[in-house]
């Protein structure tokens, strides 16, 4: 069954870190099995 996963990261997590993790996984060349769509947004943190 499809799921929608929502995660609110800890305040210390930065967009730069999210982007670095994305690059580390190389998701564009190796898309995760079962991923339909993903998005991330900065809603303002500490």
């Amino acid at each position: 069954m499809p799921i929608v996963l929502y995660q609110k990261m800890p305040p210390d997590t930065t967009i730069e870190m999210i982007e670095a993790v994305t690059e580390e996984m190389d998701v564009r060349a190796l898309p995760p099995n079962g991923l339909i769509v993903h998005t991330a947004v900065d809603i303002g943190g500490a």
């Binding site: 929608v4 996963l5 079962g34």
Partner: protein, 147 residues
């Protein structure tokens, strides 16, 4: 959005976790001192067990042919449009936002349709009152919307 909870679990364990650890080490961040993310998991069809048969699309007869299948809605898209009146942005005097993205949608859907002979598969996250959904259907897309 994931095809299953299992897919997410495997990804988190085998790729996301190790990648976070690598990046944290590179940035000098001690993950043991960092908080945990707040996580919510919603099963897409969980709350509509009588409305849909998982994996079996419902044909919306009131839209033109060429890719107007939906899953997760009861019989009539027109009924959904009527319900929009309860939350309508038009009623509140707000701008009809989908008009601003229509050129991009039109290019994508018409291009794919012409190439493949069937509707473009679209996942719409947060369809709201269905304004963009209606435009996508009019353009011949096959829309899976999750609200």
């Amino acid at each position: 959005m994931w095809e299953s909870q299992d897919d997410w679990d495997k990804f988190a364990e085998s790729r996301l976790g190790p990648a976070f650890a690598t990046v944290a080490g590179r940035m000098g961040i001690d993950l043991s001192q960092a908080g945990e993310p707040e996580t919510q998991v919603l099963e897409v069809l969980k709350h509509h067990p009588r409305r849909v048969t998982p994996g079996v699309p419902t044909r919306i007869a009131s839209r033109p042919p060429g890719g107007c299948d939906t899953v997760g809605m009861d019989g009539s898209f027109e009924l959904h449009l009527q319900r929009r009146g309860l939350f309508s942005s038009e009623r509140r005097g707000l701008r009809h936002r989908p008009a601003r993205v229509t050129p991009n949608l039109s290019t994508s859907c018409s291009g794919r349709s012409a190439a493949s002979g069937r509707g473009t598969a679209v996942v719409e996250v947060g369809p709201g009152t269905g304004q963009a959904t209606a435009r996508l259907l009019d353009l011949g897309a096959s829309v899976t919307a999750s609200s």
